[in-house]
Amino acid sequence: MCSLEKRGKVYILTFVGDDEEHRFNPATFDAIFDALKEVEQSPDAAALVTTNAGKYFSNGLDMRWIAENPNELFDIAVEKLEKMFAAFMRLTIPTVAAIRGDALASAFMLVLAHDYRFMTQGCCDLYMYELDHGLYIPDSILALIRSKLQPAALRDVVLASSKLNAQMAFKRGILDGILEDSEGTLEAAVKEAEKLAARGWSREIYGRLRLAAFPGVVEALDTHVPYRLLASFKI
């Protein structure tokens, strides 16, 4: 599911596993929550890099899991996503996403929940496909998305379901850097994480400042409203 590695004061969380698409289901959610808990409780953790092995960052929710009982499981999935995004937003250390594969739907949302984003050129896309599939995005999660995107980017991502490669995403202010290859992306992310870690910030202050910078986001994510599908949605 995910592996956790420590390099000095920087933790690196890597999506791995048999499912090369690194999709989110109960097992992967649990693995991610366990990893976050370990990081948060580590006294000398000073930054986190989230990345992926292989071709995909993550294709988002595991639809094979959801398909077993869509009406009930979609709601459970949304609640887990809300908790996951809130957990990342509450981390008391800087977070850097090293996007080295496609990040679809909730995986795109997850990278937005990070403080910094680096992506490999020419390899992959960020794609919030909800509109294309006739799905509404819960208000709680829209609060997160709105907090990290400028108006035109918000319109392109949410209201036009645009598939953004690294150049397009960088042009829209979504990324902090784009790199030529996969190794370069991880290197840049780790370098940024080390730079931030070296600032020696108070973790309590960092966590509280992030919440203050993006007011209302975790409050919205903490409030789960039952999510029901429109009859027209087909898996």
């Binding site: 909800e130 509109l131 294309d132 599939h133 006739g134 799905l135 509404y136 995005i137 819960p138 208000d139 829209l142 998305i145 709105r146 400028q150 108006p151 035109a152 918000l154 319109r155 949410v158 209201l159 036009a160 379901s161 409203v225 039952p226 999510y227 029901r228 599908l229 429109l230």
Partner: protein
């Protein structure tokens, strides 16, 4: 005043005639009625393009009309303009402003209320003239501006009194594309609208996502929640 036609499966709402297309209650009502018709028939269409004849997309509020009975008419125009912005933000399909002339003050804000803005290159500018003519902007109307203008440029747009030609408007993200002439601007808008038609860009989910993306504007413009939203069933 305004004409509504359908080309392919695209609604085109055109402010007709070569005047300044300034907003007074009667003119705004005609646009609001046209929008209501489009909404009722949104399932048959892929997008709406709002454009203009002549040299002006809109030169703003009809100050001359307001001057005949200042207090009452200012209130009437203000209220109706909020209603107009709410109508545009409540469209059940993608909205494209094909800006083929000057868009000043309320005219600029009206263009901002649309999902996309295409602009002619050869003449005309976007101009938030309020600071120059001595008018303020109420919170309801401001919510549209702050929803659509990149925060890096908000100060300049609101307080700079600048006239943005298409190229500058494009650089600042105020429009999505610029074109050599009104015909090309409309043509480009139609092409984009045809592409929208091939995707799921309409109906409850589209409107819900628009209001979800811009909830402050939805609230300040008094747009009531869409009645069927999956997360609220």
């Amino acid at each position: 005043m305004c004409s509504l036609e359908k080309q392919k499966n695209i609604f085109i709402l055109r402010r007709t005639g070569h005047g300044e297309h300034r907003f007074n209650p009667e003119f705004m009502d005609s646009i609001i009625s046209a929008i209501a018709y489009v909404n009722q028939n949104a399932h048959q269409a892929s997008a709406i393009i709002v454009t203009n004849d002549g040299k002006y997309f809109s030169n703003g509020l009809d100050l001359e009309w307001m001057s005949h009975d200042k207090e009452i008419r200012t209130q009437a125009v203000g209220d109706k303009f909020v209603e107009l912005l709410a109508a545009v933000m409540s469209l059940k399909l993608p909205s494209i402003a094909a800006v083929c002339g000057h868009a000043c003050a309320a005219g600029f804000i009206f263009a901002l209320a649309h999902d996309y803005r295409f602009m002619r290159n050869d003449r005309g500018f976007l101009y938030m003239s309020e600071v120059d003519v001595g008018m303020t902007i109420p919170p309801s109307v401001m919510s549209v501006i702050s929803s659509k203008v990149d925060s890096r440029h908000l100060t300049e747009v609101m307080l700079g009194g600048l006239k943005y030609g298409a190229q500058e408007a494009l650089r600042k993200g105020l429009v999505d594309s610029s074109h050599e002439s009104p015909d090309e601007t409309l043509g480009a808008a139609i092409n984009v609208a045809v592409e929208f038609g091939k995707r799921k860009c309409k109906g409850e989910v589209y409107l819900g996502l628009r209001l979800g993306a811009f909830p402050e504007a939805a609230e300040k413009l008094g747009i009531r929640s869409v009645s069927v939203l999956p997360s609220r069933l």
